[in-house]
Symmetry: C2
Subunit: 332 residues, 2 copies
């Protein structure tokens, strides 16, 4: 009753922002992302009748393993309960979750963590679930973006008002198009407003309905740009989408201005780089950091352009990658 | 046939952004502003049959008087032609325009300049115009915001699809409420996109209609906040409006990101100041600089908070002021 899974973080090309159902984590709009091969969480779940209670341990790069408590632990236990119910068991579990990136790096670990947890726990409990069902179970864990980390490569998470119809589908495998995300960490301050609060406030923006109205056309453009491997079309739309997300955030009640001064510095420096002929485009999640998307052949040029900037606290590079998978015979 | 007028710059509380008629400078929405007593243009217009051609000289603080040519001169000549036609004369004019603020300061001089020009030229030509008509004539000069610099104090420029109905009205005189604008010049780079181009692009934003839809309620709130002298209500709405303007700009095609890194630094530092209990709120025009609006009793605290910041290149302070007026017996 033990299994280990590895799952990638992902970067959204079309963002998930706002829910139509909190309990079921049903999103207000479909979203599209690319899995990040080099940023992942490896999670082992071990169920046993010998364990008196659930134990959750998390490790980040260069830090000791930490036993977590409180609400952090509860989110994991809630997800285990959901899966135990399906497996009709009450066995407690030991969960060990290893992130290959630092904790205070500005990289959100919830997508990779909940995808790896759900994949490993489902396997340990020998649940018979296909990829679609696994993405739904992952979604129910509460980290919506984790839903997209289950499928391989370029992924769309479909919106629906039915739980059984809101799941991830593959648009193209990771090796269809060799894209790289150069992640500029420009602030590691923890957010004043959590993503959860942000989702809750989304609908209060006077611009939110206009945002939702523009998304069907945007999803179509981005799906096609991925299939056509058209970096220009993808890039222009990526930037519009990132701005649109932040517009919704900065006009919600309360207003959430995720951008830091360094965010604007990175955007303006990216504009300069592009003027020199390099096709690279920004996107941003609900936070201050800037993801620069480019074809992998340009990744080093992009990275060289930014790594000497004073406002870049750290820089990560990741290519498109596979989705969550079980690692057989993993030892720890 | 000679007169001198002084006219203030103004800071918009509700912004003018987008036109329904370019030729007549008819705005897509009504706007509200406060005249700035300490930032003004003094313009003398002297008509004479002796002059063979129009001569336009402009001076900024600490700089020599400059004779202008090209499109800069043409905008002035066009406005003189409009007024000459009304006065039924072909006399050429000498125009001398003195700004009491620096040229590259980031303070837009077109509002004060066109209000002073129109006021002085109308007087020199002995046109019988009341304040309302003067604001319409000023508007036709092409700098919409100048329309608001004609009336005293707190001013609303009414939108209309008829030229005769789009003019400035006073909401309250300048001494009704002692507000101060602490202007943080955080960038003096000239804009890549002029306001004129910005107005043209406004309607291309997918959020522009949502912006126009929210303005009637906002105008009402701000009118009442001025009458009630309620700084909290005014301030919260000011910030929403500034964000809304920049949302429209950054989502237009082409996207115009007026903000610099220093803009965000100023906003975040203002948030900190406010957490310490000082009621001060930002607004921004179509540019990177930040105007901090507060009651005059707090102006020095605000100014002290910002003047030591490295990103503040210069700082201007102005209280609410009167509108354009003729200076009798002005000599120069």
């Amino acid at each position: 009753m033990k299994a280990t899974a590895v799952a990638p973080s992902n970067i959204a090309f079309v963002k998930y922002w706002g829910k139509i159902n909190d309990e079921l984590t049903l999103p207000a709009n479909s979203s599209i992302s690319m899995n990040l091969a080099q940023l992942h969480t490896t999670t082992t779940v071990d169920f046993s009748d010998d364990y008196a209670e659930d134990l959750v341990e998390i490790q980040f790069f260069n830090e000791p393993l930490e036993r977590v408590q409180g609400s952090k632990k509860q989110r994991v236990v809630d997800q285990l309960n959901r899966l135990r119910k399906l497996a009709n068991t009450h066995m407690r579990a030991r969960v060990r979750s290893i992130n290959n990136f630092p904790a205070e790096s500005g990289i959100a670990s919830s997508a990779s963590a909940f995808a790896a947890l759900t994949t490993a726990a489902s396997a340990a409990l020998q649940l018979k679930v296909n990829t679609r069902e696994l993405s739904i179970l992952t979604r129910l864990g509460g980290s919506g973006s984790a839903t997209r980390s289950i499928e391989n490569g370029y992924v769309e998470w479909k919106k629906s008002d039915k739980s059984s119809k809101s799941y991830a589908v593959q648009l193209a495998p990771h090796n269809h198009w060799d894209l790289t995300d150069v992640i500029l960490i420009v602030s590691t301050q923890s957010k004043k407003t959590s993503s959860l609060e942000g989702h809750g406030a989304a609908a209060s923006s006077p611009f939110y309905q206009a945002r939702l109205a523009e998304l069907p056309a945007r999803l179509k453009i981005i799906r096609k740009a991925i299939l056509d491997k058209n970096i220009t079309t993808l890039g222009i739309e990526l930037e519009k989408e990132a701005i649109s997300l932040h517009v919704a955030a900065m006009t919600s009640v309360p207003a959430i201005l995720y951008w830091e001064s360094s965010t604007i510095s990175a955007i303006k420096d990216l504009y300069s780089l592009r003027e020199s002929g390099i096709e690279a485009y920004f996107t941003m999640d609900a936070g201050p950091n800037v993801h620069v998307i480019c074809e992998t052949k340009n990744a080093h040029l992009v990275s060289d352009h930014f790594k000497k900037k004073a406002y870049v606290q750290s820089l990560f590079i990741s290519r498109a990658g596979e989705g969550a998978k079980i690692i057989p015979n993993h030892l720890f």
